[in-house]
């Protein structure tokens, strides 16, 4: 299995702006999942994108996947203060069911 590497490590934006977070991974995947974690709290599943998909939407979230570049991005549009959290990408690959977390992108949305 492998972990995703999120970039940037930290991002600070004004409320209403869009936030883009990137994820890179090393080997081929079955799918890639994005999660959110508020400080000291549980992990909230945001979106799963499979290796044969290129883009997925859920509300204000848009995830893209480029398997040729082994990268994914998460776009949050019209950000809100409540979006302040850490965001993780978690690839699933090979014969493993586990997801492997990196260090995440810490997003701060300033009201």
């Amino acid at each position: 299995s492998q972990q995703g590497e999120e970039d940037p490590q930290a991002l600070s934006i004004q409320e209403g702006e869009n936030a883009t977070m990137n994820c890179s991974y090393k080997t081929s995947i079955n799918n890639l999942q994005w999660y959110r974690q508020n400080s000291g709290r549980g992990l909230v599943h945001l979106i799963l994108i499979r290796s044969n998909e290129r883009e997925k939407h859920s509300g204000r979230l848009r995830v893209t996947l480029d398997t040729s570049k082994k990268s994914s991005s998460l776009l949050i549009t019209a950000s809100r203060a409540a979006d302040t959290a850490s965001y993780f990408c978690a690839p699933q690959s090979g014969g493993y069911q586990k997801v492997t977390f990196g260090t995440g992108t810490k997003l701060q949305v300033i009201p």
Binding site: S1, Q3, N30, N31, Q33, Y35, Q37, G40, R41, G42, L43, V44, H45, L48, R50, F88, Q92, Y96, Q97, K98, V99, T100, F101, G102, T103
Partner: protein, 113 residues
């Protein structure tokens, strides 16, 4: 919306004691997991469980750890003899299939004194 639940939310124990952390996965899910997060560190995989047996485990999941699905709804993690370094937030997760979304519970904060 169905959710994964965990009890207790916080457990304090003395070093060397046994603890059991409990989880109720989403009812129709077939795959169950435990992860942990030491304060300030990454979320780490411990074990996955399917069809009443462990399907994968990490190096962290040594002989001190065990998992069980004692009935149709609960999924437990037992630590036989806790160490100070076991202090962490423990998350249970479940998924319908092995390659589907994993839904996490709110976690149990374990403090070993």
């Amino acid at each position: 919306e169905p959710e994964v639940t965990q009890t207790p939310s916080h457990q304090v124990t003395q070093m060397g004691q046994e603890v059991i952390l409990r989880c109720v996965p989403i009812s129709n899910h077939l795959y169950f997991y435990w992860y942990r997060q030491i304060l300030g560190q990454k979320v780490e995989f411990l074990v996955s469980f399917y069809n009443n047996e462990i399907s994968e485990k990490s190096e962290i999941f040594d002989d001190q750890f065990s998992v069980e699905r004692p009935d149709g709804s609960n999924f437990t993690l037992k630590i036989r003899s806790t160490k100070l370094e076991d202090s962490a937030m423990y998350f249970c997760a479940s998924s319908l299939g092995g390659w589907d979304e994993q839904f996490f519970g709110p976690g149990t904060r374990l403090t070993v004194l």
